[in-house]
Amino acid sequence: MGHRAGVNQRPFDEEARNWPASPHEAAKFFLDQLPGCEPVEGARAESERYSHGEDVPVLLAPQMLEGEALRAVHVADPRTVRGESGFAGFLDGTQDVRVVNHVYGVPIVWGVVSAAIRARINKRLVSWNSRAPIVKRNYYLPFRYVNGMRDALKSHPNVVDTGRASASGDFPSRHPAALMEAAIKRVQIDRESIETVLAEEWCARETSALYVDGSITASKAVSTSPFAIGVVKTHRRLYAEGDAFRTLVGLRAGERTTMFRVSPQSRFPVASWYVRVRPAAGRDALFGLVRAEAAITGDISDRVTEISRWIIAEASPLSLPDGRWDKMAYGIRETEEFLRATS
């Protein structure tokens, strides 16, 4: 359809005051801003279609921090540790990615990222310090492949260029799938950045532990704080090779592995270990398996078992009907629902 004849482009400043809040508004807004733009009917969430495409599952040898080899350590019977969690808050973020328009085959991506901390008070989860969640609503598009964009739109902080050259100087392909992956990667970065903001704020202000959904290696402040514990549910990278792998898949419910060091490229090192929070008998090898991350502090050896007990305790209540219920803490599910309702 393109830009509708007879409809004048509305001044950007005026529109900026009413930044779109929904995919429908986002589509309509961009139609008014860009000649040749066409709407995508029934824009659907695209994260799942394109996520993890770049991650190849790998096995890595762990750099042990506790002992010489990865071994199982009994922590507690999952049935006896309930209610013994020391986590005072849960941090999670969400993202929603949709193609709302396209210009000559170039997808105009509308991404909403949000993050929040839910503090636990008297067993109930509430917004931490009555703070509203951080929500960002951005357009993601490669400027170099879109003609006719006004400067005001290009310089808007909520319009992200996904067509920039990488560190090696390569520009993304014009292939729509490649452009989508680039957009989604930027959305993930944006999500992580707002999660990091919240996590850093927690570590600066609180003196109790925060359950962070995912890795804590993105921020130096967080990765070195004793008050942030990352819990990773996905295992594209398994820190276990050879005998260590057998030890890992043989972990029983209520057991952890010994600690090892994790230091991803361009990130900050942390201590890490695996915990099996649910029995995996009759299930796949990774059922109920999470990887914990904590700062490499002097007392981490003393705390690792206690933190593991907390993680096991968070297995109740069950986070069904979420498909990741075997690994997901209820507090994280609640935070996700909170973000879904508010962003």
């Binding site: 049935r79 968070e314 109740s316 209540p317 069950l318 069904l320 209820y330 609640e334």
Partner: protein
């Protein structure tokens, strides 16, 4: 500004409408079924922010749990583990509220999204449209109770124009027996009406029929105990926590006629108990009440009319089968008249008399004479009448007619005649008061919906349909509203519900109430009521105080019923109260001289007339006894003359 306690929500599957909306609250909110709330809309309509008032009629609670099985799995099947979870599941309190009022009232729109507040006192008055009749200078409010929710303590007022006429009228109370609903509510409401009924609307009194136990027998006695909470309610509603100041009791005698047939027979309380006795003339007017449809065919009806008009109170001269003149004033006279007539007809082999067939005469005789037996104690053979003070009813007085211990027929007769008389006087505007409340309990018995038409039911229907124009207001009560004639309860502008039986609540009449409201009705505590009133678009739950009068049970303990006494003691008790000079010895002398029925009749008249000289009056009502004279020697008649000697006729 107060904190909002909830937010309106609506979804496509559960949308808001102009008459219903949904809102959620925090888990700690004081909202419950029956709570009145106010919604402040977010966007103005015609320049005005809409305010919507609603009452909570349904509540929902759920968590994010998709299946109960998930909870079982989450706790390894052990309920004991459930309490130890580090986190409680996210939980919602979702309420549905029925709209009471929207401001502005036009355009009537679905309830908008907005914040929900607990209704304060002013909000409650607005929501229930009480503001229309609580205006300064035109205040016609009668407090029925206090609505409580959170910190709100708001008096709920009924509109006198809609409770006592002329706009609407009548009150019906439903509730389980023994749970301080019906009698207590009426006692409280009468106090409230007597206190707050506007002077400008004239005088008001109440006639209460005590149909069971001692419920209404101690209205002039203070309650044994009133809690501070009750006193606070009285104070809040500006009603004095005191028994009724003017109460008069009426009860017929028992079958023997010795004493009054009432539980209020303790000597300390008999000062305001008046006998209720009627003669032939009074009963005959309401013979229809005591005769069933089979008895009352056209022929019998015609004969009864004839007797009423041409026999009772008239002099019937010897004529045809009648062997002597008759003056029929009492049941005894009527029986003598019937006997004479039938004997004469038999002797002359007559089939009919003045077009009335002998069989009809026999049937009517049987039924009418039977009345004095069935209503013994109420109906006097002598024809003396002791009645309610028709024509001189006093303002704010309660007249209790105790029929609790009477046979059903006698109860019906009393009810029919008294209500008819009240109606007649109100029509003529000469009752003594302008408005009269008639309280009848056990409406299931008097106006059932599943039996043939009775005189009493017709009368109740008549009051409920036309009474308000006369100032005759029916306060009725029953256990099962569903079993009362629809027009009687339907015409009650105001309805009160106490704790209800589950079976009763399952009947179609309660289908308009939400399941939650029905559940609340089934579990109401003592002192709580649900009120429907023409101004309220939805029923409201209120609390009312314990009546400030002695309850029936406590009264029966404090003032035990006088023991059944013999004739001498009964006469002594009645006459001694009128004249302390009456002694038991004097009474016994009377008993030695006169027949029992004669003494009782004399006692009844004396009690009724309250003469200055009790003994002389009493004796004047007894047949004269000619004292025997002693023959002295000096006055002996002269001896007969001796026969002449040689008298040829001498023996």
């Amino acid at each position: 500004m107060t904190e909002p306690l909830g937010r309106v929500v609506a979804t496509e599957r559960k949308p808001n409408t102009p008459h219903e909306f949904h809102f959620w609250t925090s888990l700690e909110s004081p909202v419950g079924i029956g709570t009145i709330v106010r919604v402040d809309g977010s966007h103005p309509i015609d320049g005005r922010i809409p305010h919507i008032y609603g009452i909570v009629v349904e509540g929902f609670s759920y968590t994010d749990l998709q299946s109960p099985m998930h909870d079982v799995l989450g706790h390894d099947g052990s309920p004991a583990n459930a309490g130890f979870s580090a986190t409680e599941r996210a939980e919602i309190r979702l309420y549905s509220a029925a709209v009471l009022r929207q401001i502005p009232e036009e355009p009537l729109q679905p309830v908008p999204m907005g914040q929900v507040f607990l209704a304060g006192e002013e909000d409650v008055a607005t929501a229930l449209r009480m503001d229309a009749y609580l205006k300064e200078g035109a205040h016609t409010g009668i407090p029925i109770g206090v609505y409580r929710a959170g910190a709100t303590d708001s008096v709920i007022w009924l509109d006198a124009d809609f409770l006592l006429g002329p706009e609407a009228a009548h009150l019906n109370i439903s509730g389980m027996s023994g749970l301080a609903t019906k009698t207590s509510a009426v006692e409280w409401l009468l106090s409230s009406v007597f206190t707050h009924f506007p002077e400008s609307k004239g005088s008001i009194a109440a006639v209460c029929f005590n149909v069971k136990g001692p419920d209404l027998c101690y209205l002039d006695q203070p309650a044994v105990r009133l809690e501070d909470s009750d006193r606070a309610l009285y104070e809040k509603m500006k009603v004095e926590p005191a028994p009724f100041k003017q109460v008069q009791y009426f009860a017929p005698y028992n079958a023997k006629g010795y004493s009054l047939n009432t539980l209020r027979s303790n000597e300390a309380l008999t000062h305001n108990v008046t006998p209720l006795t009627w003669g032939l003339r009074e009963v005959l007017q309401y013979a229809e009440v005591l005769l069933n449809k089979d008895d009352l065919d056209a022929k019998a009806d015609a004969l009864i009319d004839f007797i009423s008009e041409r026999v009772v109170g008239c002099r019937m001269e010897r004529d045809g089968p009648l062997s002597r003149d008759h003056s029929v004033e009492s049941f005894a006279d009527l029986e003598a008249w019937f006997r004479d007539l039938l004997q004469g007809m038999e002797a002359k082999n007559q089939d009919s008399w003045r077009t009335h067939h002998i069989a009809t005469i026999r049937k009517v005789r049987n039924r009418l004479i039977n009345i004095s037996t069935r209503c013994a104690g109420l109906v006097t053979n002598s024809g003396d009448v002791s009645d309610l003070p028709f024509g001189s009813f006093e303002d704010r007085a309660v007249y209790v007619v105790d029929v609790a211990s009477l046979e059903e027929d006698a109860q019906d007769l009393i009810f029919a005649r008294i209500v008819s008389r009240l109606r007649e006087h109100l029509e003529r505007r000469d009752l003594g008061v302008k408005h009269l409340i008639v309280f009848v309990d056990e409406l299931n018995k008097y106006a059932p919906n599943d039996t043939q038409d009775t005189y009493v039911r017709k009368m109740l229907l008549d009051i409920s349909e036309r009474g308000r124009y006369l100032g005759l207001v029916l306060f009725s009560a029953q256990q099962f509203r569903s079993q009362v004639h629809r027009r009687v309860v339907g015409n009650s502008g105001t309805a009160i519900y106490g704790r209800m039986d589950g079976d009763e609540l399952a009947t179609p009449g309660y289908a308009v109430l939400s399941p939650a409201v029905r559940t609340k009705l089934a579990t109401l505590e003592k002192g709580q009521l649900m009120v429907r009133h023409p101004h309220f678009t939805q029923p409201i739950f209120v609390r009312f105080p314990r009546p400030a009068v002695l309850s029936g049970r406590e009264g029966a303990e404090k003032f035990p019923q006088a023991v059944e006494v013999g004739l001498a003691a009964a006469l002594y008790r009645s006459l001694h109260e009128l004249d302390p000079g009456v002694t038991m010895g004097w009474v016994k002398d009377m008993i030695d001289l006169y027949d029992e029925h004669e003494l009782i009749d004399a006692r009844n008249v004396t009690t009724l007339m309250k003469p200055a000289n009790v003994r002389a009056f009493f004796q004047s009502r007894l047949k004269k006894i000619i004292p025997s004279e002693t023959v002295s020697a000096g006055t002996r008649p002269a001896a007969l003359k001796p026969l002449p000697v040689g008298d040829p006729y001498g023996s």
